[in-house]
């Protein structure tokens, strides 16, 4: 590790001042696995949704997998994270079992007695904080987690994600401002997929690069190709290590595109220009990375097929398990349990 100056980095920090060690081949193979697992899982969840087994709503991140996977791989085991709705990939990287993923989406008793849906679950022991639907508040919550690390002088980092729409909320602003002025070890990844439900980012704000908002808080703002898993890994790694070293938060803007609707029951083709779909399909993160690992001879085509087979088997097993998993205990006392610690 290069020596890190004690003073804070200047605002206009760009990648280079903290060197990130290149990923090993093994690690790259893992990246591929996670990427493909993420997509396959979400595809299967979509099937289950159409079969009425996944209930409520399904929010997919088709084409955004590199952001979740790349960033999550940059965290140390002791770091904390809080995924939002399209960050299934981060949960997989961080060790949430497939069985749990299926059961949660199928409203079963695992992992949280079916009390909240989609990715609104967490696990303190795994450093995973559950998000909620009202947007913006999670930023200050994770800043608070980072504050705890700082007070206790622990070398841990808190990371969370934000959509482009969320950056318009007052809570988001308060959160990132608080993190900045308190100089806590916090990283915020703004996933700019260009649409918040039906609202294009041009209607969220006049700023073209959301990373420029970081200047308002006096922290580095970094623009990254969100569909490049290696770039995501590297930029996140840099930001995380910077925070760990005591230099405060970084705002990473990951440029990407939402290739499906807001949710499985929303057809984006009604309000998104058709050409964007074609353009961004070409930039598919998994296809890009597959090309990369094949070119670098990290994996063969047969190897990729192996990975796919393994993924299929794992998904099938997990789905079976989840289908057999019981629904939550449905009676008043069970429902009332857990409001306070005493009950």
């Amino acid at each position: 590790m290069p020596s890190i100056p004690e003073s804070r980095y200047p605002v206009a920090e760009r990648p280079g001042e903290i060197t990130v060690a290149p990923l090993t081949l093994e690690r790259k193979k893992e990246l591929l696995y996670w990427l493909k697992l993420d997509r396959a899982l979400e595809t299967q969840l979509a099937n289950l949704y159409k079969q009425g087994k996944v209930l409520g709503g399904l929010y997919r991140g088709l084409g955004q997998e590199a952001i979740s996977v790349g960033s999550a791989c940059a965290l140390e085991p002791g770091d904390w994270y809080a995924p939002v709705i399209r960050n299934i990939g981060s949960c997989l990287v961080r060790g949430v079992p497939l069985r749990v993923m299926f059961a949660q989406y199928m409203a079963k008793s695992v992992p949280m007695q079916g009390r909240d849906n989609a990715l609104h679950f967490g696990d303190i022991s795994q450093g995973m904080v559950a998000t909620i639907s009202p947007l913006g508040g999670l930023v200050s919550v994770m800043a608070g987690v980072a504050l705890a690390f700082k007070i206790r002088k622990e070398r841990k980092v808190a990371l969370t994600y934000s959509g482009d729409g969320q950056t318009s909320t007052g809570a988001w602003h308060e959160g990132i401002n608080f993190a900045a002025v308190q100089n806590v070890p916090f990283v915020l990844i703004v996933e700019n997929n260009q649409y918040a439900y039906s609202t294009p980012v041009s209607r969220q704000c006049l700023v073209k690069d959301l990373a420029d908002k970081a200047a308002a808080y006096g922290i580095p703002g970094v623009v990254v190709d969100g569909n490049d898993v290696l770039a995501m890994y590297e930029s996140t790694k840099r930001a995380v290590e910077r925070a760990r070293a005591g230099f405060g938060p970084t705002l990473i803007e990951a440029k990407t595109f939402r290739r499906l609707g807001h949710s499985e029951h929303d057809d984006a083709r009604k309000y998104v220009p058709a050409e964007l779909f074609a353009e961004w399909e070409k930039k598919d993160p998994i296809e890009r990375f597959e090309r990369h690992v094949l070119e670098e001879k990290i994996v063969t085509r047969a190897g990729i097929t192996e990975i796919e087979k393994r993924i299929d088997a794992e998904l099938a097993e997990a789905q079976q398990w989840a289908e057999e998993c019981p629904y939550p205990q449905a009676d008043e006392p069970s429902l009332m349990r857990g409001i306070f610690a005493e009950n």
Partner: protein
């Protein structure tokens, strides 16, 4: 034992907990260097350092959010709302983020959000409110309102040690107006237990906060008129000490619910419903509420006097009810 004001007792409680448990830290506006708008935290920075007495930006949502996050990560934050009226800015954090956390995914949020509530100080609409009703309605938040210096110290300790989010609503009118003998050692007032302030057989006055003192004064006057009032100081609003309430109602058969908060949707209505459901057979008269009016808190003193309950209004209500 030492004679101290309500504010000093609160301060002492905070101080002792910070000494005792390094996980405890404070965050809020103007609490560090300035010592707090009411000087509750004067001297804390000098003793505990800036790391544990954090001066924040004006950002109630972030203050509470950060408290939630740090509590999730194992700290015991005490977040201050400079005037409890401003807790409205943190409504989402409290009701959606903090309140349901344990119920939703099993994680406790052992934080305290505290601040001066209540009127009678010519503070106007935004420095005088009682905010308990909004949060009383949200499962997962505990709410306490000490009325005495003894309870101010004992309840802040209990709140800090509690595993769940506790809203600690101190009353600014009482800060320097009441002085009591308070033990200087460590003690806790349990959350969820009301206090019987005065025994009487004719009517039960169920109340909390500064109104406890109004009730006691009225009770003394009414005694001369031959009416014996029982005064129950709830101390904790959520969870309510139903047993204390119902026991008193069964004894007197007549009950007045007294709170400084406004009438409609104030917690008096909820308590009345509980009494009606669970102690109907003991009632010898209608359940009566004495509350502030359904308006913003007025600023001008004569208006505020009309707006709020007082000894006179309470006495009249008691006499009417006793005659029923």
């Amino acid at each position: 034992m030492a004679v101290m004001t309500y504010l000093e007792a609160l301060r002492q409680g905070l101080w002792e907990e910070m000494e005792k448990d390094e996980r405890v830290f404070l965050l809020g506006e103007d609490i560090g260097v300035y010592g707090g708008a009411f000087k509750v935290t004067a001297g804390f920075t000098e003793r505990f350092g800036e790391q544990r007495v954090i001066d924040t930006p004006i950002a109630e949502a972030a203050i509470v959010g950060a408290a939630i996050g740090s509590a999730l990560a194992g700290m015991r934050p005490v977040a201050e709302m400079q005037f409890i009226d401003f807790i409205a800015c943190a409504f989402d954090q409290l009701t959606n983020m903090a309140a349901g956390t344990r119920w939703r995914w099993g994680a406790g949020v052992p934080m305290v959000v505290r601040g001066p509530s209540g009127g009678g100080v010519h503070g106007g609409p935004f420095h005088s409110q009682n905010m308990e009703a909004y949060f009383f309605h949200t499962p997962g938040l505990k709410i306490v309102q000490p009325a005495t210096a003894y309870d101010a110290k004992g309840l802040i300790k209990a709140a800090i040690r509690d595993e769940d989010p506790v809203l600690y609503f101190e009353h600014k009118y009482l800060y320097r107006r009441i002085k009591e003998d308070v033990p200087e050692h460590d003690y806790v007032v349990p959350i969820g237990k009301a206090a019987l302030r005065r025994e009487g057989g004719d009517v039960s006055i169920i109340t909390y906060g500064s109104m406890v003192h109004v009730a006691l004064e009225a009770a003394a006057q009414l005694e001369a008129a031959g009416v014996q009032c029982e005064v129950i100081d709830l101390r904790t609003l959520m969870p309510l000490d139903e047993e204390a309430i119902l026991t008193s109602v069964a004894k007197t058969g007549k009950v007045i619910l007294l709170h400084e908060d406004r009438r409609t949707g104030g917690i008096g209505g909820e308590i009345a419903a509980i009494i009606s459901e669970k102690a109907f057979e003991y009632l010898d008269g209608p359940i009566v509420r004495v509350t502030s009016l359904d308006t913003p808190v007025p600023y001008s003193p004569p208006l505020e006097a009309v707006y709020m309950p007082n000894v006179d209004k309470l006495t009249r209500a008691v006499k009417q009810l006793v005659a029923y």
